[in-house]
C-alpha cells in the first residue's frame, strides 16, 4: 500500500512536470499556426524545419555556446573551487558570496550590466560576447556543485601519494580528481542546462545575426511562435530522452558508475 502511494505520488509529479511537454509535442503536429486552435494533423513543421536555415543556425549556436561555455566554466570553476577551499574562512565566505551574485541577481540586471561592460570596453557584440556572458553565469553553478565534493577530500591521501613519489599534478589526477568527478559532471550538466535555457542575458549581449533558439523564440513573441519551434523542441526532447534511456539500459553503464565512485 505504502509502495503504491509512493508510486502514485511520483506519477502525479511527473504528470505535472511533463504535461506542458505533451502540449508542445501535440502543437508540433498542429497545422494551424495558432496555438489556440487545432487545425488538423500535419508533419509540415518537421519537414520545413531542416530547410529553415535560420532556425538551424540558431540551434547550432545554442549547442555550441552551451557546450563551450559549460566546458570552460567547468574548468575555471573546478580550479577556482579547489583554490577557494584553501583560503581562510573569512576570505572564503567573501569569495563564495561573490560567486553567488550572478546566480541570484535578477537576470535582466545581469544582462544589462554585462551589456554596459561590453560597450564600455568596446567589445564587438557577437558570438563571443554571448559566450563570455554564458561562461560568467555558468561558473557559479560549477563551483557550487564541486565545492561539497572537495570539502570531503581527505588531504592526507593526496599527501601520501606525494610521499610515495607522485608529482603534485599526478597525485592530483590520480587521487583528488576521481573523488570530485561526480560534482564536476553535475556542474557541467547544470551549466549546460542553464545556458540552453537563458534568453534575457543572451538578448542583451548578442550581436546582429547571431541568434540562439531562446532569443529567436523571444523575438517571435510579438507575432506568435513559429510552430517549427515546437517541432524542434519535440525533437530535442525525444532525442535526449532516448539517449537517457540508452545510457541507463546499456549494461556497462554500471562500469562507469563504479569508476565514478
Amino acid at each position: 500500500m505504502a509502495n503504491f502511494l509512493k508510486k502514485l505520488y511520483i506519477a502525479l509529479i511527473f504528470i505535472f512536470l511533463y504535461s506542458p511537454m505533451v502540449v508542445l509535442f501535440v502543437l508540433s503536429f498542429n497545422s494551424s499556426k495558432s496555438r489556440a486552435k487545432w487545425g488538423g494533423f500535419t508533419l509540415q513543421w518537421y519537414t520545413n524545419l531542416l530547410s529553415d536555415s535560420s532556425i538551424m543556425e540558431a540551434l547550432l549556436n545554442t549547442l555550441l555556446i552551451a557546450l563551450i561555455s559549460s566546458v570552460v566554466a567547468t574548468i575555471i570553476g573546478t580550479i577556482a573551487a579547489l583554490a577557494i577551499n584553501n583560503f581562510r574562512k573569512g576570505t572564503r565566505t567573501v569569495l563564495m558570496g561573490i560567486t553567488n551574485i550572478p546566480m541570484l541577481n535578477a537576470e535582466i540586471v545581469t544582462g544589462i550590466s554585462l551589456m554596459l561592460l561590453f560597450i564600455f570596453f568596446k567589445v564587438k557584440f557577437g558570438f563571443m560576447t554571448i559566450l563570455l556572458a554564458h561562461i560568467s553565469f555558468n561558473i557559479p553553478y560549477v563551483i557550487l556543485s564541486v565545492m561539497p565534493r572537495i570539502k570531503k577530500i581527505n588531504i592526507s591521501t593526496y599527501e601520501a601519494a606525494m610521499d610515495l613519489g607522485a608529482s603534485p599534478l599526478k597525485a592530483f589526477f590520480k587521487v583528488v580528481f576521481p573523488d570530485i568527478l561526480p560534482g564536476v559532471f553535475s556542474g557541467l550538466l547544470m551549466a549546460f542546462t542553464m545556458s540552453i535555457d537563458d534568453f534575457i542575458i543572451t538578448h542583451f549581449t548578442k550581436g546582429a545575426g547571431v541568434d540562439t533558439l531562446s532569443t529567436k523564440i523571444y523575438s517571435q513573441v510579438r507575432k506568435g511562435i513559429d510552430p517549427k519551434m515546437y517541432a524542434l523542441s519535440s525533437i530535442i526532447f525525444i532525442t535526449v530522452l532516448i539517449l537517457l534511456i540508452l545510457i541507463n539500459v546499456i549494461p556497462n553503464g554500471n562500469k562507469e558508475k563504479a569508476i565514478k565512485k
Partner: protein, 273 residues
C-alpha cells in the same frame, strides 16, 4: 608552500569575477545611485517606498513565499521517496527532473497558458467528464502554479542530495534504540536535511521574487510584481536609473537569503547539484 600554490590557482577565477561580476555590479550601483544628469542621488533606491513599488514588492514577496512553501511541501516527500530507491537510478532521476528545463522557458510557460485557459485543454477535458471548470488563469493562483512548476527542480535536487548522504546506519541505530518512524524522522532525518532545505528555499525564493515572465503570461499582467516593475523600467520606460535603484533593493533580499544559507549551511553540504 603547497597550499600557497593552490591559492594562486584561484587567480584566473578572481580576475574573471572582478571583470564579469564585480565591475558589472558596480555599474548597476552607479546607475542606481545617480540621476539622469549623473548626479548622486538615493531617490532611485528610496523609490521602493512609493506605494506602487512597495505594493508590487509585497505581492512578489507573498507569492514567492507561498510558492516556496508549496514547493517544499511537494519536494520533501518526493525527495524522500526518490532517495529510498536503489542507488543505481539516482543519476537517471536527476536527469529526469532537469530534462523539462531543456525545453525553452517561454515555450513551457506558454504551454501552461494553453492548459489553463478558460477554453483551454484542462477545462475542455473537465467539461467532457462533466466536472466543473477551473478558472485560475490570469489570477495569482496561476502565477503561483507557474512559479512552482518552473522552480520545483531547484527544491527537489538539493533535498534529494542531502537525504542520499544520510548514513543508513544512523537511522537503523535510532530504530534499534526504540524510536518510532516519526521520532526517527524528527530527530535524525529532518535535522540532517536542513542544509538542503535552506539551499532549496534560496534557490526557489530568489528567482520567484525576481520573475516577470510568469506574471505576464499566466497572470494576464493584471498583477504587477517587483520583477515586472524593474523589467519595465529597463525595457519600456528606458529609466535605467530607477530600474537599477530598485534592483539594489532586491539585492538586499538576496544578501539576506545568502546570509541565512551561510548560517544554516556552514559546510556547503546542501548544494543543489
Amino acid at each position: 608552500m603547497k597550499s600557497k600554490f593552490i591559492k594562486w590557482l584561484s587567480l584566473p577565477y578572481i580576475i574573471w569575477a572582478i571583470g564579469f561580476i564585480i565591475i558589472p555590479l558596480l555599474m548597476v550601483f552607479y546607475f542606481g545611485l545617480t540621476d539622469k544628469n549623473s548626479h548622486f542621488t538615493i531617490s532611485n533606491v528610496l523609490a521602493i517606498f512609493q506605494p506602487i513599488h512597495i505594493k508590487s514588492l509585497l505581492i512578489a514577496l507573498l507569492l514567492s513565499l507561498i510558492s516556496t512553501i508549496i514547493c517544499l511541501l511537494i519536494s520533501y516527500p518526493l525527495a524522500m521517496i526518490l532517495s529510498s530507491f536503489k542507488k543505481g537510478n539516482d543519476k537517471m532521476m536527476i536527469l529526469i527532473f532537469i530534462l523539462p528545463m531543456w525545453m525553452n522557458f517561454l515555450l513551457r510557460t506558454l504551454a501552461w497558458q494553453t492548459l489553463l485557459e478558460n477554453e483551454g485543454i484542462i477545462n475542455t477535458v473537465l467539461s467532457l467528464v462533466k466536472l466543473p471548470s477551473i478558472n485560475i488563469i490570469n489570477t495569482p493562483y496561476a502565477i503561483i502554479l507557474g512559479m512552482i512548476y518552473n522552480f520545483l527542480p531547484f527544491m527537489v535536487l538539493p533535498i534529494y542530495n542531502v537525504l542520499c548522504k544520510i548514513d543508513g546506519n544512523l537511522l537503523n541505530a535510532s530504530r534499534d534504540l526504540g524510536a518510532n518512524e516519526i521520532q526517527t524522522f524528527c530527530k535524525i532525518t529532518l535535522p540532517l536535511s536542513v542544509p538542503g532545505i535552506i539551499s532549496g528555499i534560496t534557490m526557489v525564493f530568489v528567482p520567484a521574487l525576481t520573475t516577470f515572465v510568469i506574471s505576464d503570461l499566466l497572470g494576464g499582467s493584471k498583477i504587477l510584481l517587483i520583477g515586472n516593475v524593474i523589467e519595465q523600467e529597463f525595457t519600456l520606460n528606458s529609466n535605467w536609473h530607477l530600474g537599477s535603484g530598485l534592483s539594489i533593493v532586491l539585492m538586499i533580499f538576496i544578501v539576506i537569503s545568502m546570509l541565512i544559507s551561510a548560517i544554516f549551511d556552514k559546510d556547503g553540504e546542501g548544494n543543489t547539484f
